[in-house]
Amino acid sequence: MRVPLSWLREYVDLPATATGRDVQEKLIAVGLEVETVERLGEGLKGPLVVGQVLTIEELEGFKKPIRFCTVDVGDANGTGEPQEIVCGARNFAVGDKVVVVLPGAVLPGDFKIAARKTYGKKSHGMICSGDELGMGDDGTHGIIVLPPEYEVGTDAIELLELVDEVLDIAVTPDRGYCLSMRGVARETATAYGLPLRDPALLDVPPPNAGGYPVKVADPIGCDRFTARTITGLNVEARSPIWLQRRLQKAGMRPISLAVDITNYVMLELGQPLHAYDRATVDGPIGVRRATPGEKLTTLDGTKRVLDAEDLVITDNRGPIGLAGVMGGANTEIAGAVADPETGQLRGTTDIVVEAAHFDAITIARTARRHKLSSEAAKRFERGVDPEAASAAAQRTVDLLVLLGGGTAEDGVTEIVSPRGPRTISVAANHPDKVAGVEYGRETVVRRLQQVGCDVYGQDELVVTVPSWRPDLSDPNDLAEEVIRLEGYENLPSTLPKPPAGRGLTERQRLHRRVGRALAGAGYVEALNYPFTGPQILDQLGIEPDDPRRVAVTLVNPLSDEEPDLRTTLLPGLLGALRRNQGRGTHDLALFETGPVFRPTGDEKPAARLVVERRPSDDDIASLDASLPDQPRRAAVVLAGGREQAGWWDEGRPAIWADAVEAGRIVAREAGVELIVRQDQHAPFHPGRCAALLVLVDGEEVLAGHAGELHPRVIKTLALPERTCAMEIDLDHIERAAAGPRRAPRISAFPVATQDVALIVDDSVPSADVESALRDGAGALLESLRLFDVFTGDQLGEGKKSLAYALRFRAEDRTLTAEEASAARDAAVAAAVERTGAVLRG
């Protein structure tokens, strides 16, 4: 809502010195979000005067038509001589009154005016357009042609009300009444403690049977309909400058007198109005729901197919308007058009004015259904004061009579479905209890009265809320009114005493630790958008039947290429990797933790549960069952050097093993030992892919994969060679966590070290050899470490040698050489038996 300060002053006697910023501050304090204060005409300096065009000479030979004019500006130029001005506009004729800016003046935007040579002539000033004066574009891009009655030489700054301040207020949905000058004025008056001149307090004749016939078939959708008729309007009458200016400042474009007046009254009183050309309305006006498939062309020229829920205004022919949203083209007010035969001006002379009250939800749905957000719909959705309808009709009639030369017919149609006043019972100390402040009953009552409520009662108040505040329905609503008017800024600051908390959960701690551990290992966290699409999965070589193809799909994605939510973290991370690569960073290690979204396939639509009480546990469980699984994952991607080259050595590229190790880093934070197995899984290199498993309650669970990406994927996505990745499910890791760690026993007896080298087939995983050694070595084995892997001709084709250092130690004695050797032999024997290993050398 744009509120010109000059207009606001009409209803509240603000201090003469009060600036827009002052009013802004006051209104913000009572809860109106005044976003900006626009200072119209800032820096504007005259002379800017009314002039009359005396002569026009068309200049030839230029790219565009140019006129050399002389203009009478009276004494404004000091000489009284005609002012010579070059002008590019064409929408004026000799004798027209125009707005002339003279040398020495400054127009908005620090546009200094001086006499200057142009198109071979000297131009002493400018004939102005609305744009140049900061009035807003009137759509014609032409210069302003004034009505003839203004005197030559009159100051146009004042005439056109060019200097003003406009408050731009973002009205919240509960404050529909502030979509009007009347509502903002009420808040302003309260904020300043000044009386309000309510523009809705008008003398309105009582309804009678002589008005235009109206039939309301749906009193729920339309509980009030006022119709008034004006005849004999002067088709040439235009909106006066003051009216046009107020509309412009409020952000609306002047169109024609009748339309301007209905817009003006809507801005003033908040009541949307509609004017019908009586000549085109066929029979009584009706209000009913549309029949499905009915059609209506609205004023914006769009042909609309109506829904059974749409409320329509009708005449004998059918719909002539979408109630409360937009009128129909078939009864539109016609502008003045000259009759081609007689030359006589023709246009709308008789008007039926509608001021009605429609159901907020009906209007909201219709506006949404037809994607038609009009000024009227915006107000009805938020609630319009039903009691203001007849005053608004009266105000419209008055202005049409005054400015359009029309005659008001005596007939007044008013159809009202009576509704009782709305009352709320509230304890007088309720606002005190909500605020934590002792306001006392007297203050509470006074503030509620300022809002427009009638208040009765002592400790228990019975509050009748005003018709323009449909948002007030509960005791807390009233508490807010009292507290905001007493000033939020005056609330004290106290701290509640929560019961002792338990701190973070194990799960939350784990998530933090995982992030720290990966960052500690050199990975940089990236937060990627979870939007994705099938194309990236194709590029990753993920098979059509892969569960990662089953995604949550959005109805309204930002991009048609990415309609889905991620089922894996890798696409996002690979995107970030490429972005870094493209920006010249080549040694990269990135990680992300976060949810992926995996439909269960059994989701039913989530029910719209009750809100009047807590839904049952079953109902709440059904909501959770309507959601996809959202497991939390951790993932890394690596490319380039894991260690950089430098004066120390040649550096080391990131390899598949770094990716697998990243999985171990994550698992270790939960105290979980990963089981690593050879696997084949897109998007990984089939020979360089590890499955990462964990033990949950004794069962092996696949938790993720790691390795080098498939060369084809690397090529398709233009990734760095040998890019590696890991992705692991943190929820599985969490489930595998063994609980608090137990301290190991530290033996002080000497260690016995034994090295063994075993030759096995290439296909034997080292993990199998290691676990056989461990099992065979028994309890004396303190640790085991693979320190070399060797292949070569002397081993034979398809063989490899694995060299292990075994450390034996007993808790209670020094081991003898025989004991250590026996344990080693047992370890080797187990490896021989289980993996076909041969002891080397």
């Binding site: 209890k433 958008y529 990269l588």
Partner: protein, 374 residues
Amino acid sequence: MSAPNKSYDPVEVEALKPEEIAARLDEALAAIAAADSLEALREVKAAHAGDRSPLALANREIGALPPHAKADAGKRVGQARGRVNQALKARQEELEAERDARVLVEEAVDVTLPYDRTPGGARHPLTTFMERVADVFVAMGYEVAEGPEVEAEWFNFDALNFLPDHPARQMQDTFFVQGNGKKGDESGVVLRTHTSPVQARTLVDREPPVYVVCPGRVYRTDELDATHSPVFHQIELLAVDEGLTMADLKGTLDHMVRALFGPDMKTRLRPNYFPFTEPSAEMDMVCYVCRGESVGNPDRPCRTCSSEGWIELGGCGMVNPKVLIACGVDPEKYSGFAFGFGIDRMLMFRHNVEDMRDMFEGDVRFTRPFGMEI
């Protein structure tokens, strides 16, 4: 070489004469002093203190002396050998010290050499900032609650008093999830537009008193630009207990901004409207960058607060009793307050982030300087 003098007769042994011993001693000391390296000293030691050195040889002659002369000679030789050994030791130490000093000089390196062998990792500042904000409340006794990002509309809207046709529901530009069945089916599921559904989830699950915060990721259908992102972060707070007031809300907010932005930070509440709180307020804090000094001061404009002096942090208010009812909490007995703040914006002005996009592009140059904590 002299053999022991077995045939007894008083004999004059040349080598044991006092002047002879003194001369050997002087030679030895001179040689020791002249030794200029540990190697040279080792040779000197062999020549003057070894088994075959003159003094050692002289020592062997003592046996040849008559008994009365033995003591004298023994004493003389012993003293001389003692002095030689002493001098050797002293010189040894001197030379070792010199050698050590020299080795240390030789081993000196340029310690200013860079060593960026393994570039450091970092956590994302949004992650660590959310943790930091949560920790402020955890320290006060709050717990951290969590909820799903793909959420049922009932939790995201209805339970929070966003009724189906209320304009407020349209204010939030919601991503809707497609139904499981044929295209166009309503799923009743959305990407949560705020962290507030966690309020409803918490109240449905727990008995008051409830004091929780919920940091998390939320979604709105905004295109990414310098100040908007379709994916962003909020932290939600919910306190429901007997007798909670707006003053408690104000005090809690004050505590938060002081803990996060410094002890001189001030807050301001402005009336506003949110369906799930009543009364509702918008919370501002004094501009962290200009501290309000840009207001009415065209020479010092502030981009962070547009020279308004205040920065909008988010919405808050007393939990609407309708929300309590929908979640099964008795509004006659309990009241509560709640707020939800945009983490991304707070991070932007707390750490001078100029462009929202920097936070979502994953550029390591942006994230790395933030390290592990913020």
